[in-house]
């Protein structure tokens, strides 16, 4: 890149001012193009935290006894049940048969899949119908006002 050998003197070149303008403008533009994403990056996004292994599923008092609630856990649906005896139980709501979303049936006091009538008991065990495996169980406990569900690592 030895330019000085190749350019004979006397060849017209853009004036100093234009070169400085181009250089300055280009450098500023490029710095802007780098700084803009960096600054946007530093400002925290709307969803404040990465989805970790624990989620607030519901507020205390939100669920009546012998009822269930579907909530989002990570990128999958999960089921929180408040049993008739007053215990909170949490499971993955993805049916182990063909991945339909299960629901709590207050009349059966069991977890039911509407697609092919699969049934799971309140320990998540597959007790009837096509599901071949139990539901993944999560831990649910009360922290102050919240019912927190955590996945066992």
């Amino acid at each position: 890149m030895d330019v000085s050998d190749q350019i004979p003197r006397g060849v017209p070149q853009p004036s100093r001012r234009w070169v400085n303008l181009l250089l300055g403008g280009g450098v500023l533009a490029s710095i802007g193009a780098f700084l803009y994403p960096a600054i946007q990056y530093i400002l925290p996004p709307l969803v404040a935290e990465s989805t970790s292994r624990s989620v607030v599923a519901a507020k205390v008092g939100e669920l009546k006894r012998n009822s269930g609630k579907i909530f989002k856990f990570g990128s999958h649906p999960a089921l929180l049940v408040l049993t008739a005896e007053g215990d909170y139980k949490a499971f993955s709501a993805v049916c182990t048969h063909l991945n339909c979303t299960v629901q709590y049936r207050a009349d059966l006091r069991e977890i039911w899949c509407a697609c092919h009538n699969g049934l799971y008991d309140l320990a998540g065990r597959n007790v009837s119908g096509p599901p071949p495996r139990p539901l993944e169980t999560y831990e649910a406990h009360v922290q102050g006002e919240d019912v927190v569900v955590t996945r066992n690592a």
Binding site: D2, V3, S4, D5, I7, R9, V11, Q13, P14, R16, V19, N20, L22, L23, G24, G25, G26, V27, A29, S30, G32, A33, F34, S75, H76, L98, N99, C100, T101, A114, C115, H116, N117, G129
Partner: protein, 422 residues
């Protein structure tokens, strides 16, 4: 000395009670030494479940196991000998129908096998003198009987079809009976046989639908009940559907008319509708209401599949371009769920029910598709942003280049000034 004698007695008693050496079972001792067929039972008996329970030959056949002479087989003294074919059920039933006796060995044992058998086709024909039918020993074996939970037993779930097939698949043997002999072959092609072969012992085999001891083919009207023991939703929906009454009027078997009884294959979407593979057109001809309903149902399902497929494709494209679309893919699972439910709802045979399901699924698929479009738009935004940044960079580089030229146009190249030598 006393301890030694006591030890010997205990030892002999122990040996005797394990059956390792039965000093007093003359049947085995004598017959085992005989060759050919006469000796066979004694040799087979080693693995028999009755032997494990502490029973011997005499418990079934009578006679005296302590007697080494031929007098052991004295009919006057209680020897029963080999039962005739027609006597076999009662022979086994002497114990197996006696619940008090059976409970000595297994408190949960049933004692209704004999009474069930007598209601079966096999039992009824045997009572009329047909000796070609199956009796206890034809399915369970004779002298090396294993419990049904033993994988080697002829009545272990995986073996049942071949055990029944010993007669029912033999065209020559079944010549005089007016029933087909292709059931086993057809069953072999079914999804149930595949499930069984894959190790699911709860999968249906012959005895699941026909019963084992009380083997009777389910009547036309009760077929749906049999299928319904596992396929609950389908039976419930069918019973409320127009087909229930229509089939009953025409004496058509419920599930079997479309799904077959033995050759139960995995259904595909093209079974519904009016195309070449469709089962609907077996009855419904063009122009009838049924034809229209079939066409509509098939159309709706196809529509859902198309939308779901398109959404799937665009999300894959977005993912391959490096966009993160995992949550949209999870949402799309709802569309697949709707497709599954729509296939179940076909059995209402009402187009509106299927459409309700497919409409829901199509909504979800459309949303997922929109997410895919958004992802691709974001991808294009990134590439445009890249373009802008590259332009800025090119400007900067051009500026630098020209600056270098400018600086060096008026300078002579200088000799090196670095301090270190070569």
């Amino acid at each position: 000395m006393k301890t030694a004698i006591a030890a010997i007695i205990v030892f002999l008693w122990a040996l005797g009670s394990t059956g390792a050496v039965s000093p007093s079972d003359s049947c085995i001792t004598c017959h085992a030494s005989l060759g050919d067929k006469t000796g066979e039972p004694a040799r087979l008996f080693a693995t028999d479940v009755h032997r494990q329970a502490g029973l011997g030959c005499a418990d079934c056949h009578g006679g005296n196991p302590n007697d080494d002479s031929m007098d052991a087989m004295n009919r006057a003294k209680g020897f029963r000998g080999t039962p005739k074919k027609t006597q076999v059920p009662a022979f086994c039933g002497r114990c197996h129908a006696d619940i008090t006796y059976m409970h000595r060995f297994n408190p949960k044992a049933r004692a209704d096998q004999l009474s069930q058998y007598l209601t079966s086709v096999h039992g009824k024909r045997l009572a009329r003198g047909d000796t070609k039918v199956a009796t206890c020993v034809d399915c369970h074996g004779v002298h090396n009987i294993l419990p049904p939970s033993d994988t080697r037993a002829p009545v272990y779930p995986m073996q049942v079809a071949s055990t029944c097939g010993r007669c029912h698949a033999d065209a020559t043997y079944m010549k005089d009976y007016k029933i087909p002999t292709d059931q086993i072959a057809l069953y072999g092609k079914s999804v149930h046989a595949q499930m069984l072969a894959a190790g699911d012992t709860s999968a249906p085999t012959c005895t699941t639908c026909h019963g084992n001891h009380g083997a009777t083919p389910p009547g036309v009207s009760s077929v749906a009940n049999v299928c319904g023991t596992c396929h609950v939703f389908f039976t419930q929906l069918f019973e409320k559907s127009p087909h229930q009454a229509a089939f009953a009027r025409q004496d058509l078997p419920g599930c079997v008319a479309c799904h077959s009884n033995h050759e139960i294959l995995k259904p595909t979407d093209d079974w519904v509708g009016v195309s070449a593979n469709a089962v609907c057109t077996n009855c419904h001809v063009a122009g009838t209401n049924g034809y229209r309903v079939a066409k509509k149902m098939a159309g709706d399902i196809a529509r859902l599949r198309t939308f779901a497929g398109e959404a799937e494709e665009i999300l894959s494209t977005a993912e391959r371009s490096g966009m993160e679309v995992s949550s949209a893919k999870v949402e799309l699972a709802g569309a697949h769920e709707a497709l599954i439910k729509a296939r179940v709802d076909v059995h209402t045979f009402r187009a509106a029910e299927v459409q309700k399901q497919t409409d829901e699924g199509v909504e979800i698929a459309k949303k997922a598709h929109a997410a895919g479009i958004a992802a691709l738009r974001e991808r294009d935004f990134r590439r445009k942003g890249l373009g802008v940044a590259l332009i800025a960079i090119v400007l900067a580089i051009s500026g630098l280049y020209l600056k270098i030229r400018q600086i060096e146009a008026c300078k002579e190249p200088r000799p090196p000034v670095d301090k270190a030598g070569p």
